[in-house]
Each structure stands twice: as C-alpha cells, then as structure tokens.
Amino acid sequence: MFDYLPYIREWNFPHIWCSGCGDGIVLKALIRATDGLGIHRDEAVMVSGIGCSSRTPGYVDVNTLHTTHGRALAFATGVKHASPNLNVIVVTGDGDATAIGGNHYIHAARRNIDITVLLYNNYIYGMTGGQVSPTTRKGDRASTAPFGSIEPPFNISGLAKAAGASFVARGDVYNVKKLEKLIKLAIQKKGFSLLEILSPCPTAWGRRNKMGHPVQLMEWLRDSTVSMEKWEKMTDEEREGKIRTGVLHDVARPEFTDEYAKLVKRLKAEK
C-alpha cells in the first residue's frame, strides 16, 4: 500500500470536496506522481486560484499559495522568475484558468515558463454552485443556463497549444494509472506544461445533466475517453462524442527563465 501520509496535511482533513467528486482522485494521483519523481517537498511550490479544485494545495505538505480567482499563473510566474530552482505546480479550475484567468493562461503558455499546470475541467463553476463555465458543453444545463447553454465551449488544451505551451496532455479521473503517468510527464517537461484533467462534478454539473450519481460520471468517462492510439484509427463518425486522452502535444521550445539567464550572461560578456 502506498503511504500518502508523509505528503498530506492530515490535520486539514476532512477535505471540503463532496463525496463523489473527482478532485480527491487527482490529489492521490498527484502525490503518487511526485513521490515517483523524488521531488523535494521544500523545493516544491503549489499555487492555486479560487474554486473547489484550487483547494488542493491546502492538503499537500509543500510550500502552498492559494491566491485570488484566476490569478494563480500570475503569482506562479513571479515565484518561478524570482527563484527558477523551485518546482512550481499550478492547480486551477476551468473557470479559474480560462474565464477570469484567461489572459494569464495564454501569456504564461506564450512565454513557455517552466510551470506545470493541472487544470481540473469539471465543465462547471463548482464552488459557486454550478454556474455556466467556458467549458460547459452546448446544451448542458447550469444554474445560470437553466435552459441549456447556447455558447460553444472552449477547447482548453488546443488553446494552450496554440498559445505556445511546449507540453499539452489530457487525462481523467477514471483512468487513474494513466493520469499518474501524465502528471509525471507534465512535471518532468521543461517549459509550460498543461495537463487538462477531466474531473466531472456530480453535485453541480452531473445532477443537472442526467448524471447525478458519481458512478454514472465514471461510466461516462470510461465510455467516452479514448487513447491517442485508438483515436488515430477512428473515423470522423466514430470520433463523434469521444474525448482524446494522452499526450496531445510535446515539443522543445525555449523556456522563459532560461532565456532570461541567457540574457544576463550575454550582458555580462558584453561588459
């Protein structure tokens, strides 16, 4: 049995998440992944915004910074730029990262600053009671879209790739072994690494959309996620309603703090 205790702040339990919420599954996968990588807890900084997902750092025994709604990446950029030796992980929600924090999201990706982002996508604003989010699917009901959302959702992984992230992947809380592996890859990658984690919310999203029971959500994840290998072999028709998981994009690009260090070196040489 894996021993989680050395990594968690036991005194802060029980956690705030509803039973059936996927966020606890991510927490465990994250702990196993960081243990596997041998990351020193004193040198890890976990930064989050505001939301259910953003409560994760409170339970992890590293340096933790719970910031303002949408701004985790801005705070994290300051931490990483000031101290590039620190291992910076951002935990954020779909609303936090791509609605109110959308500007920081695209610019952190553009700079390709060495930050790992775990973006929990639950298709809804969980913490505030189920309002529509930028990832709510068209037709889904939300407390502020009582007749079904009329807006198209964001492709948040595609957005990170287009903005310049050097690593983009998608995982989910049903395929936990794979999720753990993806978290490891995202942390190991130098540069801006975005891992979108499908962690559906039974309370605020599922209940309104005929999937009120957490088991139904798990079944939905099981049936609708497909691996990259499978996806490649599927016809357009077969892809309808399916979600790719795995590494979506992985390239080498100059990283921000490296570029700054290079500038410093160049100026020294010129002097």
């Binding site: 910031t67 990446l73 950029t77 000031a82 101290s83 620190l86 610019h107």
Partner: protein, 381 residues
C-alpha cells in the same frame, strides 16, 4: 537617462529617481505593465536589473503584474510594481491579497487625472483615497508621498523598509509633475543606506507558525524554499496560515491587520513643517503641490501674513493628532490639492472644528501655482 554631474550627483526625473531608489533599497524584482506617466520606471529597471542580478518582467496586465510581485516577494525578494490611475484600479484586488496574506511589496502610483482614462499626461492627486480604500475589506494601510526627485528616491527606499518592517504592501503616490520633472538628485553612499529586512524564523520548522500572534502583531514569513513549508491564502486564516471559520480567530486576524499599523503609527507618520510655530493660517499640502505651498508661505510671510505649511510625507496612516494640535493653534487651514478635496475631508475630521477649513482644488490637469495659493489665503484671512 540620468545625466551624471559628479560622482554622487545626477540630473534625473522623479521616475528615474524612483527606480534608482528601488535599486538602492535592495529591490530585485519588478513586475509591471506600461502606463503613462509611470512607464519610465519599468524602462529604467528593464535596463538595470539583468545587469545587477535582478528580475524584470512585463506582465500581460496590471492584475498579473501585482500577482507576480507577490509571488516573487514570497520567495524572499524585495519586489515592486509601478503604475498610474487605471492600472492602480486593476491592482486593487491583489493589493488586498498582499494586505491579507501580509506579503511585503511596494506599489508606485504616478498619479494622473481620472476617472477612467482621464488625463494620461497631466498631473492629479485623485488616487489618495483609493490608496486608502481601493480594495474591499478593512485593513491598515501605509501610503507615502514625495514632492521632488530627491524625495522620491528617499521615499522609495523608505517604502521598502516599511513594507518589510510591517509585512504589508506600501504605496508611494507621486504625480505626473514629480515623475517627469528632471532635477538634481544627490545619491548617498549605497553601503551606508539603512535597509530593513523582514524577520526570519529562528525556531525549527516543526514549531514554526507563520502568522503567530506576537506583541508587535507582525508575522514572520519564511521565504519559500527555505525548509519552512506553510500555507498562504487570501481567506481568513489562523496562526497556521490555514483557512478558518472560527469567529474568534477571524476577528483576531482582521483587528490585527489594522492594529499593526495603528499601534505603530507614531513610527510611521511623518510631516515636514515650514514656519508653523507662530502660524495663524496653516496650509496642508502634499506631493508637488507642497512645493508651490513652500513658495507661497515665503511670499505671504514677506507680506506680513503669518502662514505656515504642514506637509505630510506619509498620507496613510493620516496624521490626525498632528493636525488637531495645529488646528488648536491656528485660525484656519487651507488644504490645497489636485482633486476635489479628498484629503480636506480628513483634515476636517481630524481638526474637530477647532479651526475653519478652506479648500483650494484643481482638477483641470494644471498644477496649483504659488500665486494661486497666495491669492486664496488672502481671500480667506
């Protein structure tokens, strides 16, 4: 760029003096977003920081800039940002965060006219109440001001020292006139500058409490990465730094955020006094207006009018006790400012009807001149 006159003397703008003051204070992080009339501060530090071991970043907006400054400050660096009216508005939520989480940092506001985009290239003093009440919630606030390039240099250093001493964001309010006027600045020997560094924990990590209640009300935040793993949040928290809903703990925290400034106000508050000892009318002026007021006092004295000047270099906490003392001595106050009476309200409150309060306000983007002040005083005496 500053012009070197001698080893220690430069001709520089207030903005350049501010940037140089930050370097002298030991600041090594700047996160900003360009806005007139403050941008020269960012430009100056973007040139200097990569050479002297500092970190510069132009963020995507002012909200991000303020966030990056707080993040950097938590790693132990002295960090700052610079902006003007519209950007100062955008920074407010995260300034409140820095107050709540007690993260030392410095915010420079080179004031221009508002509301909204207002007067990008013209001076005003319309942000002085925003510096006090701009973010939501109750908290103690420290805001400084300066009237010349020399004073801006010194006050920038002072702002960092107060931030580190009291673990709080500190605002320095100058205005477009001071920011853009080139004048002589005498630089001190940088080794002789008094620099305050935040407290470091002396206890081992096992017994460390970041927000421990102490007599001085000031927490000890270890820089990230030094082996003290703790939690920082904008939620109401207890001594451990973790969120709490306990009414007693919440009250203790909110009271402490104000008390740590109020209790120490005598150490923080500072006013310059010009010919106040026998004055019958006192001018209350700050920032670039104080320069005109000094001239006005000299001229009025020549004409036999007993005028004096009270010039606060710290606007918040407000020097209420000093104002009351002067109010008991003089017949009247003239509060001259480039807004519609934002500090006059405070003077009125503090003087408790012991003197009559007159106002001289200007909101057309023009400076208040010495003759204007002289004229107004003659009108009221």
């Amino acid at each position: 760029m500053p012009v070197k006159i001698s080893d220690k003397i430069r001709m520089m703008t207030g903005n350049e003096a501010c940037a140089e003051g930050a370097i002298a204070a030991g600041c090594l992080f700047f996160g900003g977003y360009p806005i007139t009339p403050s941008s020269e501060i960012a430009e100056y530090l973007s040139r200097r920081f990569p050479i002297i071991g500092g970190k510069f970043i132009q963020m995507e907006d002012e909200i991000g800039a303020m966030g990056s400054v707080i993040g950097a400050a938590l790693t132990g660096m002295k960090a700052m940002t610079a902006t003007s009216g519209p950007g100062f508005s955008l920074k407010q939520e995260n300034i409140g965060y820095a107050s709540m989480a007690e993260v030392p940092c410095v915010i420079i506001d080179v004031q221009r006219g508002g509301p909204s985009t207002g007067m990008p290239t013209l001076p005003a003093q319309m942000d002085v109440q925003q510096a006090r009440w701009g973010t939501h919630g109750d908290r103690g606030v420290i805001a400084l001001t300066a009237s010349s390039a020399q004073e801006t240099f010194e006050q920038t250093i002072h702002a960092f020292n107060l931030a580190e001493r009291y673990m709080t964001p500190v605002v320095l309010l100058i205005d477009e006139i001071t920011g853009h006027t080139t004048e002589k600045v005498t630089l001190p020997d940088y080794d002789s500058i008094e620099r305050v560094d935040r407290k470091r924990p002396t206890e081992p990590p096992e017994t460390y409490l970041p927000y421990k209640y102490t007599d001085d009300c000031i927490p000890t935040l270890a820089p990230f990465g030094t082996g003290y793993r703790y939690n920082v949040t904008g939620l109401c928290h207890n001594e451990t730094g973790f969120p709490t809903n306990d009414p007693k703990e919440i009250e203790r925290l909110i009271l402490r955020l104000t008390e740590k400034i109020v209790k120490n106000r005598h150490e923080i508050i500072n006013c310059k006094r010009t010919m106040l000892d026998d004055a019958e009318i006192a001018i209350f002026a700050y920032g670039s207006v104080a320069r005109s007021a000094r001239q006005a006092v000299l001229q009025l004295r020549e004409e036999g009018i007993k005028a004096g000047l009270l010039e606060p270099t710290v606007l918040w906490p407000f020097p209420s006790e000093i104002v009351l003392k002067i109010a008991e001595q003089v017949d009247s106050f003239l509060v001259a400012e480039m807004n519609l009476g934002q500090m006059a309200r405070e003077v009125e409150l503090a003087s408790k009807c012991k003197a009559s309060i007159h106002r001289l306000n200007r909101v057309d983007g023009s400076p208040i001149s010495p003759p204007q002040i002289v004229g107004k005083i003659k009108e009221v005496v």
